[in-house]
């Protein structure tokens, strides 16, 4: 599947701030979409679109903090860079605690913002790759039969074939066949790799870390 080009979203109610940010991003060749309200961003938000979000903390209607909460509720992974006014530091700290990627105080140096955007976009790519990886793993896991799942659980908990055979009430030979099928279906070339996959999947099982 071809990756879509990243877009930097800007949400700020101030026309001049929004306009200047859009022009700055354009000057460094980044695609940008600027919106005046948090609600418009939520309405247009597409989880499949790679990118990052530059968000003003204070806005009438839905504030930047509230938008971040909404995105968290939806399980959105888009990295958020908050831009804050003078004296909004406690708010910025709270935003970071809520999982914001970074924050910048207005007015800021262009390079500081661009560096943060680049890092945010890189983070987004990593997150998306991981998510894709996990969804592939999940698909593979789903293709296992109930018995194969039992074997997977026992193998990755470190049980030798002989014990497994006794636990499951089958021959050691049957265990070996199941085990080979699990390795093949999960695309694992070693026991270590299989253990790693199970750990990754367990992480996704509890997304609110």
């Amino acid at each position: 599947m071809k990756e879509r080009a990243p877009v930097v979203f800007i949400v700020d109610d101030d026309d001049a701030v929004r306009g200047s940010l859009r022009l700055l991003l354009k000057s460094v060749g980044l695609a940008a979409t600027a919106l005046p309200t948090a609600q418009e961003f939520l309405d247009k938000y597409d989880p499949q679109q790679p990118g990052c979000l530059i968000l003003d903390v204070r806005m009438p209607g839905m504030s930047g903090m509230e938008l971040q909460q909404q995105l968290n509720v939806r399980g959105a992974t888009i990295p958020v860079i908050f831009i804050t006014g003078h004296g909004d530091i406690p708010m910025a700290v709270e935003a970071m605690q809520q999982g914001a990627f970074d924050f910048l105080q207005k007015p800021f140096r262009d390079q500081d913002l661009i560096d943060r955007i680049q890092r945010a976009l890189a983070k987004d790519v990593t997150t998306r790759t991981e998510l894709n990886e996990r969804s592939r793993l999940r698909e593979r896991l789903d293709s296992l039969t109930p018995r194969e799942r039992e074997v997977l659980a026992l193998v990755t908990s470190g049980k030798p074939n002989k014990i497994m055979a006794a636990d499951l009430g089958v021959s050691q030979r049957t265990v070996e066949i199941h085990r080979a099928r699990v390795m093949e279906k999960m695309h694992a070339s070693s026991l270590a790799q299989l253990v790693r996959m199970v750990m990754d999947l367990n992480e996704t099982a509890t997304p609110e870390g």
């Binding site: 101030d14 001049a16 022009l23 003078h86 007015p107 800021f108």
Partner: protein, 374 residues
């Protein structure tokens, strides 16, 4: 005769014991009696002034009116100042003057009549009044500064917006010009924006300064709507900083009101501050402040500041205008009393009523200039 002489001595003793200056004059204004207190007040000995016209005790201005009063009374016998106290400027022997309260009585049963004047030096009282006024002005200024101070975070945020835009536009221009074959039109638009935003920042600072500066009370006939409009940016930024929506509904064609612009603006800002703080206590979903103006049935101009907060507790309603009755942890308890004093010195009234369906509503009533009178 001895009895007559005795009673005359008694009278003089009585007059001399009085605290106030007592001067008796005949119908022509000639001084007939000048008690001890009067001697102390004016610096004349009794024998220096008895027989002279009372005008020696007055400023030239008061002389003319005094003669006119006397002549008018003698002709019409209708008292104008007799029995009533009035404030005059009295002149001492050395030419210096002092403010005095004068009340005039008629010595009845004589023709032509004689008059008795009681003179009370009110210099000290005047000084106290002046001092009280000065303190009141100072208090109003301090409270205005406090209001401005409270708004500072909103203003700082508001100032940051154009500054951030200027910096970012300038950076963008720099980068755009670094590209081979740059789009000059885009750079031009950005430069124009930079200039506009600098003006915007200047406007914000000017508004703040005009609000904070000490100035002599200046009353002029103004359009109340213009007074409210001037505050829009300040209120808007403060409201925004609190996540509150600010609306205004200003009635067109209001009659003008004679007022001190900065004082009335202080009152409005104070009411808005109170509203913002009240809203911070409640649900933020519908946090709104509405300022309306209108001309009421009596022809007075009303400014109403409404909010959708919790409103004033019915237990406190009768106390909110009392000094030091603050419900806020950081409040001085002077905002509303000072506001009411300011509005009253304008001949108006500041009143509270619950807002419908919820919240508080403060109404500033100001007497309008009547157009049906010359």
């Amino acid at each position: 005769m001895p009895t007559e002489r005795k009673s005359s001595q008694e009278l003089q003793a009585l007059l001399d014991a009085a605290v106030d200056g007592i001067v008796v004059i005949d119908h022509a204004g000639s001084i007939q009696s000048f008690n001890r207190a009067a001697q102390g007040l004016f610096g004349y000995l009794s024998e220096e002034v008895v027989g002279r016209n009372v005008s020696v005790l007055m400023t030239d201005e008061d002389c003319a009116t005094h003669d006119a009063h006397l002549a008018r009374y003698l002709e019409s016998r209708v008292p104008h100042i007799i029995g009533k106290g009035r404030e005059v400027t009295a002149r001492r022997k050395d030419g210096t003057v002092f403010p005095a309260s004068l009340s005039v009585g008629l010595v009845t049963g004589e023709n032509p009549p004689r008059f008795v004047g009681f003179i009370h030096d009110i210099t000290a009282q005047r000084q106290t009044d002046t001092e009280a006024h000065r303190l009141q002005d100072r208090l109003m200024h301090v409270s205005r500064l406090a209001t401005v101070g409270e708004m500072a975070s909103g203003i700082a945020h508001e100032l940051n917006q154009p500054l951030a835009a200027i910096a970012t536009y300038a950076h963008a221009c720099d980068r755009l010009l670094g590209i081979p074959d740059p789009e000059i039109d885009e750079v031009r638009v950005a430069l124009k924006q930079i200039a506009e935003q600098a003006v915007r920042a200047g406007d914000i600072i000017r508004k703040l300064r005009s609000l904070a500066k000490t100035e002599e009370s200046q009353r002029t006939a103004v359009d109340v709507n213009a007074v409210i409009e001037e505050l829009t940016d300040l209120i808007q930024s403060d409201a925004k900083a609190h996540g509150v929506q600010y609306w205004r509904e200003l009635a067109p064609n209001l009659p003008k009101v004679v007022l001190d612009r900065s004082q009335i603006q202080q009152v409005v800002l104070n009411l808005v501050r109170n509203a913002l703080e009240a809203l911070a206590l409640g649900q933020l979903n519908t946090a709104q402040i509405l300022i309306t103006t209108r001309c009421n049935r009596d022809g007075d101009v009303e400014i109403a500041v409404r909010d959708t907060g919790p409103g004033v507790d019915s237990v406190l309603v009768h106390k909110i205008f009392d000094p030091f009755c603050s419900t806020k942890p950081t409040g001085t308890g002077l905002g509303l009393p000072i506001s009411r004093t300011i509005v009253r010195t304008h001949g108006g009234a500041l009143e509270y009523q619950p807002n419908i369906p919820a919240g508080a509503c403060f109404i500033v009533k100001l007497p309008a200039i009547r157009t049906d009178q010359p």
